[in-house]
Point group: C2
Chain length 698, copies 2
């Protein structure tokens, strides 16, 4: 068990601010605690003699020893109460009281002070502005929700208190049970990472599920969740996905969330099964809690109705699952046990007049097939099938074969008791065939997450000091923007750049050009002019004799365009034969929650118009870098589509990793774009560079 074990399973709890005033939160908390808790409850309230039959003490110090305190005093008393609790040696506190960061500057100041107190006393604080916590093992219900949770093997965190209330109400008449529940509130101290870590160490939590609106520390979350997800699935709704939703979330929690792109990437790297609706949240958590994981992606469908069987098959087509191909032995078994009109191929149709024996033989045959990893049992109401019998047979066969099963019972009231039987055995049953398939798909997604080995990023041998010098040159010039004058940064990190140099006069330009070939590329170097090509600041294919004049032209154009622009010189660069090459882009943007977000795509229209891009949170290893290349739709262009020469994809993958190392080594780099990184059959070359830094972080 983890650090928070005592928070969830205390032996003695103090309610600070306990009261019996009708309709008050303090009363709700106290009476919920009194209802089922196996431990002791002590009420703290200097203005009362007793509350709901409990004798009151005046101060926290009189209540000790207690393992946890629940705070429901008015907001202006919370900080004093916390200090008292700290002085009394209490380290687990749930702050129900609202009126902190969510309410404006006074509340925000109060919340900062709360954080300081928690740090001083090394205190685990839930909230403030929390609905409370529940632990069904001890019967602890330290919330003011009208409904308690029933025991189960899922633990649930929520950044919305109302969502907890809703889920408890909804779960009450379903067989959805919880181990622990926590309403995170404002997450001033304990956040999602802390509870994920705790439940990862809790043998009684088989699935972690939750609703969040932001992640407090993205990189910490990735580290924690990635490890936990190896053992315990994590299923999350992260709301504020869309622009409208993000605005609504910001006004709701006051937190400014990072980009959806970063969340999508970060949560995936954290090994989270991310869902978008409440239905998916409970469908996926439920099957993960109840069924074993499949060994592979091959699903079999056994149905007594052709049409719904086709719908289930369509759902397989929409998913990451594949329709299993049966072995000959299975086909023989099915031919033997089914009538001639039946379909023995997947989806198996046992036909509308199937009785339970025939249905059962069909399910047994496919579950026994080594090519089948999971099974959907699908039944419409017929005169010959009793849903209860089918449920019992399915439970027995699932247990016997140990493969995951999901059921579709296409009826109303007539399916209820069968659903209950199945759900007691951890087998989900739905009306809609698609939901059964989607649930099995979620199992498979998680099986893949678990299978994914996390490789430490490769550390390349780089010249970090030289890179630091380049970045510091920007500080010396008092600018936050760097361009081609910083190409040495790439050299220092082993990323190939075209031969060439920045020169400061026409004669030198000519001398450099002579060493580079018959024709060269010349670019104006000025941190103040962002779009060089728009003002004619780039000349391609300049013959050596014309280099001096071109130098003058480029500088003149800069002066003309922006008289006060700082011109550092002109870059004279080797002219690459890009006809054989493909222009790619590698970019980095620093996300407030997750840190440096790497982007890869093909140059030109592909990134700008088609948004054909892939992302990862740095640092990444080779597998992730390779996947970034793999994930873009236009990847065939790198691999020889339309008669091109395939490019050296390994060099692209290595460049992404080296850039990942660079931006991880230097948090001062806020944005960085290598555009284009030209890839050919021989390797890559970073032709242009632009970056923005935060001088304070150097």
């Amino acid at each position: 068990m983890g650090e928070l074990a005592t928070l969830f399973a205390p032996e003695r709890v103090a309610v600070i601010g306990a009261t019996d005033r009708e309709g008050s939160v303090g009363r709700a908390i106290t009476s919920n605690l009194l209802a089922d808790f196996a431990g002791d409850v002590v009420a703290v309230n200097p203005t009362k003699e007793s509350v709901l039959g409990l004798d009151c003490v005046d101060e926290v110090s009189e209540a000790v020893p207690v393992d946890a305190a629940v705070v429901v005093v008015p907001p202006d008393l919370v900080l004093d109460v916390l200090r008292d609790a700290g002085d009394a040696g209490i380290t687990n506190v749930v702050v129900i009281t609202a009126g902190f960061g969510e309410t404006g500057s006074e509340g925000a100041a109060r919340e900062r002070e709360l954080q300081e107190i928690a740090a001083e006393y090394d205190m685990n604080v839930v909230g403030p502005n929390s609905l409370g916590i529940i632990n069904t093992t001890t019967g602890l219900n330290a919330t003011f929700a009208p409904q308690n949770a029933t025991p189960g093997n899922m633990s649930f965190l929520s950044q919305s208190g109302a969502f907890v209330t809703a889920v408890l109400d909804w779960a009450a008449d379903r067989s959805v049970g919880f181990k622990d529940v926590v309403s995170l509130g404002n997450k001033a101290v304990l956040d999602e990472s802390d509870f994920v870590r705790e439940w990862g160490e809790d043998p009684d939590t088989d699935v972690i599920l939750g609703y969040i609106e932001d992640v407090t520390d993205g990189r910490e979350f990735i580290r924690t969740a990635r490890e936990v997800a190896q053992e315990t699935p994590i299923v999350l709704v992260k709301s504020g996905r869309t622009e409208a939703g993000a605005t609504a979330a910001a006004s709701h929690t006051g937190a400014l969330a990072g980009s959806e792109q970063a969340y999508e990437t970060g949560l995936a790297q954290a090994g989270v099964v991310r869902v978008t609706t409440v239905e998916e949240l409970f469908d996926f958590a439920g099957i993960l809690a109840g069924q074993p994981l499949p060994d592979d992606e091959n699903v079999a469908i056994v149905t007594n109705a052709g049409g719904p069987g086709v719908m289930a098959t369509d759902a397989v087509g929409d998913s990451d699952l594949s329709l299993a191909s049966f072995t000959d032995a299975t086909l023989d078994r099915l031919v033997e046990s089914l009538p001639e009109e039946a379909n023995v191929y997947n989806p198996v149709d046992v036909i509308g007049d199937a009785d339970i024996d025939r249905f059962e033989r069909g399910i047994d045959a496919v579950l026994a097939d080594e090519n089948v990893d999971s099974v959907v049992v699908l039944s419409c109401p017929t005169a010959t099938i009793d849903f209860d019998d089918l449920a019992d047979a399915t439970v027995r066969l699932q247990a016997e074969h140990g493969k995951p099963v999901a059921v579709t019972l296409m009826g109303g009231e007539s399916t209820r008791s069968a659903q209950d039987r199945l759900s007691e055995a951890g087998i989900p049953a739905y009306f809609d065939p698609a939901r059964a398939v989607e649930s099995l798909d979620a199992l498979w997604d998680y099986a893949e997450i678990r299978r994914r080995e996390f490789a430490e990023p490769t550390t390349f041998d780089v010249d970090r000091e030289r890179a630091r010098d380049v970045l510091e040159s920007a500080v010396r010039r008092d600018t936050n923007r760097l361009g081609v004058e910083a190409m040495e940064l790439l050299d220092a990190y082993g990323i190939p750049t075209p031969a060439g140099r920045i020169v400061e006069d026409p004669q030198e330009a000519r001398r450099v050009a002579e060493d580079l070939g018959e024709r060269v590329v010349m670019k104006l170097v000025s941190p103040d002019i962002l779009h060089k090509s728009d003002i004619g600041g780039v000349e391609v294919g300049v013959p050596v004799p014309a280099v001096k004049d071109t130098y003058e032209d480029l500088v003149a154009r800069a002066r003309n365009y922006q008289p006060d622009a700082e011109v550092l010189g002109v870059q004279v660069q080797e002219q690459l034969d890009v006809d054989d090459g493909v222009e790619t882009i590698v970019g980095v943007n620093r996300d407030p929650q997750f840190g440096p977000l790497l982007m890869f795509g093909l140059g030109g229209i592909f990134v700008e118009v088609l948004e054909d891009t892939s992302f990862r949170v740095a640092p990444i290893g080779e597998r992730d870098a390779r996947e970034m290349v793999d994930e873009i739709d236009a990847v065939p262009l790198l691999r020889g589509a339309r008669g091109r020469e395939p490019v050296d994809e390994g060099a692209v993958v290595e460049t992404i990793q080296r850039l990942s190392q660079l931006v991880t080594d230097f948090p001062a780099i806020l944005e960085l774009d290598v555009n284009p990184l030209v890839a050919t059959g021989e390797g890559v070359s970073a032709v242009d560079l632009r970056l923005t830094i935060d001088q304070e972080q150097l």
Copy 2:
């Protein structure tokens, strides 16, 4: 009322093959008919005196006059019975009996004969292999389903009998009611188009919904559904969407369905609201049956819980709806009626301690706002809100303002009676906020379908005879494939082609080239060589003096590559300056169900690698052609992205329409590709052409 009015509402029905044998379909049909039918039932069975209390007659002729007959005799008797029925003047027949097209060649022959009989007697035949039909107005239940339908304003067709059984069972304990239900069976005579047409004329059917696996006649369906959908929404599941699903469907119905691409396109052009899951089918049909259509896309959310409000807002972001911006008057009203901590902007948060009055004021204010077209009311369980009160208030306010409303009640058992109250008033209520938004989105989708005016395709002035000559030249050459030698086809339909000619000797090549400029394009013309460029059969930029030699080279390469290939000559073509142009592709493929399917995309990687394409079933008018261009992701490339000159988009749109006319005029054209159609700022030019024809259809 339509032609099938008597089928659904007969006064007297004969059951041919009525029986009381336990467990038989004949008994189920007879007893279902006897249960609720307002009219008379007559049993036909020569081996029985009476069935379930009905006196039997021996033959159909003794049963007349009857308005409809239900046939449950064994398969080998069906055809005789049908003839008897026809002779007796019966024109409406439901054939329950299976053993026709779904069972092999004997059955298929029987089905063809059934079709002949139906044609001979001008008989409306449902089935064969149908579960039957239901009409709740007359209480007619001519099915063998265990559950009858409850009355309502939706009519339901299904190509799967089991799906009907499932839906009836499921609907029984929900307030989902039907007007007519039909199990289509094998659709030997009556198909989906017939029922859509019928229900389009039925004032008691407000929504048509259904499950289909194929469409018998795609173009007829588009014509019928497009008209019906102007008044009555049509919501359909078309299964077999995915490759796996299509294979399963083919094995289920025996029908070979056309491509999913054609269905997606055709059903959209037919004005169908297409759904993929059973949940969507009933969610969308339900709200369409119960709520008015919104005037525009702006939705307001009123919630007592921030987090779930964000989830609803995300769902709006995922949909075609927009979050409404309130007028100042509304904001003032909300500020006045809500506490300070409330959020008066959309999503409106009345806060967890809201009572019914406050909630009601919030809902009323947004419903009254002229900028709001639809509303989501969202409530979590709190101590201060009673769901029944909220339901009553919502029903009253919805009726008062006449705008569509969907409700989310986030609880379990505690929401039941409120759900019933809402659903009686036609207002849907869900647990999941996303479903409420998706349902309103479906209303808006349908509102847009209804708003869409169907414009007759423009008829261009073309030279149809000349086009026919070109196609017939293929017949003369006994080939089904035509290439650049058929470019005149495009000329005849007013589609610009580069200047040039096909020549048959080097001298002529030279003469033609001299008129075309300094350099020309030369292409081998051979119907037998498909990929000319692969064998060096295309030379670009040939200087006039080199034309004669190039002619010889091209012909030599053809001989070398394929000695028996027919070489029609060499095309000498004006060399276009394509640097300023964008290569596009217009293609046509004939779909078995829907006929010619037009495709548009950009040349090269865009169609081949990125599959960035758009489709329409021909014939189409200007709006559809314009939308085809608009729908491709890379369309900015046509509009001047990345510093290019915008192309003459009107010329592209006109070319698509002219090709639509061409393939509609000549059903003999099975496939046609104009690739590339080069578009520049000045217009378009069809540089290459390939087509396949069916000689028999000429």
